[in-house]
Subunit: 310 residues, 2 copies
């Protein structure tokens, strides 16, 4: 079974890792949000790509889910001592990734090629693709004005109230090499438990991606459990957009795009309501606290796809 | 006594530190070569400015003379694991300096202002000025073609034979704010024991600097002791330029620019020959192996200036 996973940060990376534990390298393509990418200290930083790659490589910090394990913080401390901004947590090992990515981008290599080469160096065998090689920048429209994503997410700790989103550059961007091909060949798409507003929507905003997903059976895993996001601002965003945060709201958002939906066991009472938006619903344990949890959820999702969409 | 010191890397930084131990902050201005500056991994690196500032701040690695004490190497190791170039030794703490400098240059602050702010943050009380805020790039002409300075110096370990030098951009550059003023006000100039070809010459190539030095009593300290450079390629460069490497060759090079010359005790037999090029000669111990050596040499040089040029 050939699967394309759409993923953002930590939650998406965990399910992508679970799928990679189950599927062979030829059977899984992970398409990653790059709307969070930004320039900082002159370096190009791709937070979601790094989180997915570090997770698949076994290099991720197991405590935070982002950044590198066994990390040190000498460079950012040194810059902060000079008055530099320390709000974005740049570990030393992580910095090496940004340094080399920036060097190669400056040498005109596309992000997709750089990502593939980094995966080879890190021993990641499954295809990890940025959604596009062109820059797309998620702008969060808030009661404090328009904020670049990392300004909103890290620097302002998601405190401003959200009024909307813009994926600047998306309409002029081209899906990275391999993205549309993988979607055309896929037996199913898995929409990972990432933030629908700012992790999955930017990917879908790349021309051709939404239509390609619509032509393929798709299953979404809810990032909202018991009305709260496992991590990040997804629930807060629903509330500020005037929508009661719940797995049901996620299902409504993905109506017409996904036909299958995966609910956490604590939300089993939503099964009936979700069925208004989806052809089939799986209720299972979706919280991924260990690498084994990732694999088990991936197996559940793949069994659900096999039972309903093959 | 108001002094301007011209300095390049490690040797110059040591004597500048000695002068700073003796002179008050209002009485010493250190003008530093920036011909070695380069861009690496998208960051702006100023090796000589950093060496001088780290040395004066007590942050320099006492074993190497360059880089930071208590340094770690996680970022460059991480970049190297991705195939990145590891020939330039970028420590993690040092990287923090490059990150913040690059950020501020990208925000259009001049290098001189950035350097002054860094000195304040590091507790350096004496004025450290880049020779210019405009980029000047030392090109080493070799039997293997033209090489950017760091390519020659670090990557190729000074192995190519030198045929000449170019300080690209120097003729269009402007001395950094304060440089010409400090020279006008100075009672004397100290040409530190830095490489005459690639550390002192670029400073002198900035319009107005050579003439200002010529109008001021100047004393040069030989970087060549016993026919060899204390460190770096100065002696090799003399030989490749067809000149027998010795303190006498340095004195000949500075004829017309400096009137006083400081010879190491091991070269005392050159005193008479050097007198052909210089008005007065001081023979003393010039090798600086400890911070105390730096102070003692600075005191010797200042006494020599006081006795001959006041």
């Amino acid at each position: 079974m050939k699967i394309v996973a759409l993923a953002g940060g930590v939650g998406g990376a965990k399910l992508a890792d679970g799928l990679a534990q189950v599927l062979g390298p030829g059977d899984l393509t992970i398409v990653v949000n790059t709307g969070d990418d930004f320039e900082h200290f002159g370096l190009h930083i791709s937070p979601d790509l790094d989180t997915v790659c570090y997770t698949l490589a076994g290099l991720a910090n197991p405590d935070t889910g982002w950044g590198r394990r066994d990390e040190t913080w000498q460079a950012i401390s040194s810059a902060a001592a000079l008055g530099g901004p320390a709000w974005f947590h740049l570990g030393d090992r992580d910095l090496g990734t940004h340094l080399e990515r920036t060097r190669l981008l400056d040498a005109s290599l596309p992000l997709s090629k750089i990502t593939a080469d980094f995966c080879t160096a890190w021993g990641v065998r499954h295809a990890v693709l940025p959604m596009s090689d062109q820059p797309v920048r998620t702008i969060v429209k808030t009661d404090q004005g328009e904020l670049a994503f990392q300004e909103y997410f890290v620097r302002q700790r998601c405190e401003p109230a959200v009024k909307g989103f813009e994926f600047r550059g998306a309409s002029d961007a081209v899906a990275a090499p391999g993205v549309l091909d993988a979607l055309e060949r896929a037996d199913a798409v898995v929409i990972c438990p990432s933030n629908p507003w700012v992790s999955i929507s930017p990917i879908l905003a790349i021309p051709g991606v939404r239509d390609a997903v619509k032509r393929t059976p798709a299953v979404a895993v809810s990032p909202i459990i018991g009305g709260a996001a496992v991590r990040g601002p997804a629930a807060k965003m629903y509330a500020e957009m005037g929508i009661s945060p719940s797995a049901l709201a996620v299902a409504a958002q993905y109506q017409g795009l996904a036909q299958g939906f995966v609910l956490d066991s604590v939300d089993s009472e939503l099964r009936g309501a979700v069925s208004r938006y989806m052809d089939c619903v799986l209720v299972t344990h979706t919280l991924m606290q260990s690498p084994h949890d990732r694999k088990r959820l991936a197996e559940d999702v793949l069994d659900f796809i096999g039972a309903n969409f093959q």
